[in-house]
């Protein structure tokens, strides 16, 4: 079995014969040792590129990001995907550009949501798209390594929910606010503790005095003195946080003791007073305990430490598809995704202040969404623009190991630099001048959703005239309930001249196999069409037949409602059906908000829809 597996892994690896730069592979066993090194490299570089390998993208054709999506629906789709699927591989590449040379330190982390700390965390179950797994397998992804050795993690929200004690068990270091007035009870308690500790310390220090074993064990029993590691310790029961404060306050005068919160037993809190032999010994103990805590914390947060490091470094993060990737990052490593895009971005920006989307940069130089694929974009740019960038990778090549994963993030780095050089953006950031991004980059950071309508610079829209047109979502009508197998052309033929509303220019495209969208280029016609559909006014015969067979229409609000409601059925028609029923039930409850959102209508893009 083992043999078989290693064989197949190697043959898969053998497929990749392209020139490849070494990427450091990180799994459970070498995670702790890598993290220090990673920390250094992230703080010494100017940018961080990240790339995620997920178990799936969308559950049904209509659920992927379509040109008909507004910012809001796009977010809801990304949210849905992030909640369903899992990240199995997370590649991070801290990089900087020095003297037109790319200096990169790529790392590739294998992740698996193993239940390390608590059952059901970080994820009880997750979805897989079999096509996605198959293509990962073709690229040589090692699923065994992932499940066996992947690094687990907990999101920030999960960590606090799991009530894993994050506070230090060390009490000496904590400084308390000056306590409010001492009551009589407090004074008595403090005095009692003081004398008890004093007695105990005396007892410990005079141990050389020969003593009957019976008496010494009795003394131990009565005095509750125990052993902490190799050092003597005393346990003091406390019943409130106030008494904890008092104890630490009172025992400040004893130099050689360390206060430790005892492992909580049910209902009883206690403090352990550990006696050390000297100042040196005390420091040693404190360090020991701190190291242990750090280790435990690492076990709890796991891979999230990487995310935390990226966040604390405040470096600009370069991604290829920011909305999707950061929806995943937010939901897996920070907290559950909020219901709206606005809340999402504001929550995210507190953690990652600068996010640079490569897709967005590509749009600036006139490559529209056509180039979804990193490699094709790179080869396209290489052909058209002949600027060369040197790559220098500082990870040393591990001998005897084929690195097959995580090259996506290298391609991302390369593409980013290429784009910046084409756009004449200098990436060379002077020492010390960290937080300030070049103005051109600053301008286009944190653009999660970049339809042209939202694009702040009118100049750039012009590039697309002829290919794409902007249309208000109020001019869109969804049609479903037609015979299966009908194409957009068939529908258009039926609609054409069936009524006055179709006398002007309009377009029909398929969204998925059960639903089509009609674009009215004349404002207002969509409304009248919907009204006519409702009233049952006469259309031409063929269209009438179709309506009697169950043809239905709905406006964009219904579609939005579908995305919002979480009715993610495989066929859009079914969802729209259900949503219209619900709206009818609740009609009159609310006046529909008039929203003039615009989406980009791109003819080139829509051709893809027919191939769905």
């Amino acid at each position: 079995m083992y043999l078989r597996r290693s064989l197949c892994t190697q043959s898969a690896a053998g497929h990749r014969r392209r020139r490849q730069l070494p990427v450091k592979q990180v799994i459970k066993s070498n995670f702790s040792e890598t993290i220090a090194e990673f920390k250094d490299s992230i703080f010494s570089s100017d940018f961080v590129a990240v790339s995620l390998q997920k178990t799936g993208g969308y559950s049904a054709p209509w659920q992927k990001l379509l040109p008909i999506d507004t910012e809001e629906t796009a977010y809801l789709k990304a949210k849905r995907a992030a909640e369903r699927f899992q990240v199995l591989q997370f590649s991070v590449c801290p990089f900087s550009v020095k003297a037109s040379k790319l200096i990169a330190n790529p790392y590739n982390f294998q992740l698996f949501p193993r239940h390390e700390v608590k059952v059901g965390m970080p994820s009880y179950s997750f979805s897989c798209q079999s096509s996605c797994l198959t293509s990962m397998a073709q690229e040589g992804f090692d699923f065994n390594a992932c499940v066996y050795n992947g690094i687990s993690y907990l999101s920030r929200a999960q960590e606090s929910a799991a009530k894993v004690q994050t506070g230090s068990v060390l009490l000496n270091s904590c400084s308390f606010q000056s306590t409010s007035a001492f009551t009589v009870a407090d004074v008595i308690f403090a005095e009692r503790i003081k004398t008890r500790v004093k007695n105990w310390m005396n007892g410990c220090n005079n141990q050389h005095k020969t003593e009957d074993t019976l008496i010494s064990s009795l003394r131990k029993l009565v005095g509750r003195s125990e052993i902490y590691g190799s050092r003597p310790s005393l346990t003091i029961d406390v019943c409130s946080e106030r008494q904890v404060q008092l104890t630490s306050e009172v025992l400040k005068e004893f130099v050689n003791i360390v206060l430790v919160r005892a492992p909580a037993k049910v209902g009883v809190e206690a403090i352990q007073v550990v006696l050390t032999s000297s100042e040196e010994d005390k420091n040693l103990l404190v360090k020991e305990i701190q190291d242990l805590e750090e280790e435990q914390g690492r076990l709890v947060s796991g891979f999230r430490e990487v995310i935390d490091l990226i966040s604390t470094s405040q470096k600009p993060v370069v991604v290829h598809n920011s909305l999707n990737d950061f929806a995943f990052i937010h939901s897996k490593f920070l907290a559950p995704l909020p219901p709206t895009m606005y809340e999402f971005t504001s929550s995210l920006l507190t953690v990652f202040p600068h996010i640079l989307d490569i897709n967005h940069l590509m749009k600036e130089i006139g490559l529209f969404n056509k180039m979804n694929n990193l490699s094709s974009a790179i080869s396209y740019l290489d052909r058209r623009f002949s600027t060369s960038t040197d790559m220098e990778v500082s990870n040393e090549e591990e001998t005897g190991r084929v690195n097959v994963h995580g090259h996506c993030v290298m391609r991302e780095c390369y593409l980013f630099i290429k784009l910046c050089s084409i756009l004449k953006i200098s990436l060379e950031i002077r020492e010390g001048g960290h937080t300030q991004l070049p103005a051109a980059l600053q301008r286009c950071s944190n653009m999660f959703f970049s339809s042209d309508a939202r694009y702040p610079f009118d100049d750039d829209v012009r590039i697309w005239t002829g290919k794409s047109r902007t249309v208000s979502v109020s001019n869109l009508v969804f049609l479903w309930g037609f015979r299966s197998g009908m194409s957009a052309q068939d529908l258009k033929d039926v609609l054409c001249n069936s009524h006055d509303v179709f006398s002007e220019e309009f377009d029909v495209k398929m969204v998925d196999r059960t639903c089509a969208i009609v674009v009215f280029w004349t404002p207002g016609f969509s409304k009248s069409f919907l009204r006519i559909m409702d009233s049952g006014e006469l259309f031409s015969n063929k269209l009438k037949d179709m309506i009697s067979e169950g043809l239905q229409a709905a406006d964009y609000e219904t579609y939005k409602g579908v995305c919002k409601s979480g009715l993610w059925k495989p066929d859009l028609a079914e969802c729209l059906d259900q949503a219209t029923n619900e709206i009818k039930e609740l009609s009159g409850a609310k006046t529909q908000q008039q929203e003039q959102s615009l989406i980009c209508w791109n003819n080139d893009e829509m051709i893809n829809l027919d191939e769905l």
Partner: protein, 716 residues
Amino acid sequence: MRKNYLVRVLTRLNARTSQPLRFLCSAPSAAGVELKNVTKSNFEPALTELRRHVREADFVSIDLEMTGITSAPWRECFEFDRPDIQYLKVKDSAQKFAVVQFGVCPFRWDQHSTSFVAHPHNFYVFPRQEIAGDGFSYEFLCQTSSLEFLARYQFDFNTCINEGISYLSRSQEEEALKCLDSVYKDDVLDVSSNLGNGSDMQLVRMADILFAERMKNVVGEWRAGLLRGVNCGSESPGSLNDTNQKFQTTFFQTRPALAVNGLTSRQLKLIKLVTEKHFNDLTYVHVTGESSCRLPLIVYTDSAKDRELLKGEVKACQRKAAEMSIKSAIGFRHVIDLLSSERKLIVGHNCFLDLAHVYSKFIGPLPSTAQEFVSAVQTYFPSIIDTKVLLNSDDVLWRIMKKGSTSLSKAFSLLCLLPVAPTSTSNGLADKPRVKVDVQVDGQRFSNWNSGAKHEAGYDAFMTGCIFSEACFRLGIDFNPQAPGSILQHNEKLQKYINYLYLSWVNGDIIDLKTGKSGTDSLGSATGRQRWHTKFTFSNMILLWGLPTKLKAKDIRECFYKAFGSGSITSVHHLDETAAFVQFSRAELVSDFLELKDSLERGNKNPISVLHPLSRILETGCVRAATYEMYKEVCCSPLSEVLFADQAERIGWKGASVDVNGEDDCEREGETTSPAFPKQSSASVRTSAAGTRSSMNLQTDQIMDSLCRSAAQLSR
């Protein structure tokens, strides 16, 4: 009180351990049993061989490995699950998770060696999408803990994903063929339409124009040569020299044709354009070659009529190819079809879930009720026997099992591995020799095998078969047949166990596949009566959710005793950390409680409601209550939120008669959600709930303080 709490803990434990029953099995020792591992590369020959083995077999044992068991903690099996709920949970599991390994092990009785011959097969299965765009969602769920479990037993995920055999269920196949019908029925369909509207393309780029011109010459020369009657088969005209690897003269159904190889799709589009524009008697088509790749051809036709004929032929050809690809996508289902058509006795161990998987993956969508499901299963598999039912229901076997666990590996080691105990046992059967089982893989026969608990489906199937044969032997069944092949399924001694399965082991409900009736202990065995005695009156039960997480069953019980008198409730069962079932002793208490809850929540913050014993339960302010039927509705839903409270919220359940509270919530949450879709995120509810809780606590404390003070004064 404590006892009741214990019961809860035990049931939860039970539920957790008995569902993935293989968890209980012993640690793997040295692998000893040879298995035939089957992946897509050796599937065809293995299937042919398996056909023979199954045909000769006396029974076939099966076992499955899945990517998960339950999609949420509350979807685990509980003892308070009614049979219909149990089926819904099994259905949910079978629909969501994937089968990754399928063990099939035919057993044949060999009269000469008086032993069984087993052929353990271990199929790697993966739901790969083989037919493009058939509209089915090839998505499956993985339960993290199940994957970890598989990993612990060295399951090879790479082989499964890379090499796993894919499949198509019967209904998927029908659907795909129907889809094909509708595509090819249309007469107006252009044969070459797959290339998009080629005529739309315009020659704009210089390279295109040059290429088109050259192609025009090439094709023109070829046509001219054809018309001159020159034998173009071997000698190409001079100008074709440089491109003759790309163009080859062949024949398409007796018509001369030019095959075009190695060009880009853009170039092909240009060729199509040129052909249509300049040559009336040439047609550009795509045909599917023997290697199932699409081959572009330029075909010469005599007349317009001939051209129409050609188009028809091409279409038929394409359709045939499409049908072939559907047929070849059936994949692993051939094994299921084989088991079904041979109508052999199928043996499994606690196999109700396995059968649900088999049905939903290879036959069709699962019916909505258990009755429909079992009757459908019976048409495909007329006789099924479950070794777990057998071991627990037969008193002789139950004694041999020492009345202990009947998990697969435990039963296997007790029945088939341990040396036969010296005969001090009362049954007197233990001193008999054991049934011999030989393993045969790829023609090799092994009579001496060690145990090898590898948790591979093939091995588990083998173990199941061994247990079954040994159990039959202990029941005194004679294997030497008069009518070979079908003896076992008509054996009188086995008859009363055939087609009985555990609907769920947790509460011992057995379902009769022949009638669809289910209930505890329908086989009337002593063990059933011993093991499961808790009875539930479902109409007396209410479901509470949105409870404070720290509330224990003990606390809930106490609160109810204070409010309704001791003995008012018979049991409390936690569904998950925020949801619990409370069973009242009398039916009218259900409505009493709902009314009381209502009035307490209406008088939101007045002292009576705060001091009321139930306030401890209701303190989160978002506690909902409903009857048992609502539980069924929630289980029906395709969604699976981790917490039951979130699930109920998502499917829009506000609970029974909690309208007052509901209104309150709507007002508070109105800003974030539109009324048309009243499902709000659980997070917002949580936070608002937490807010009210703390204020409530403060009040309680204050009131308690004042009461204490007054009491102290009084006593003074």
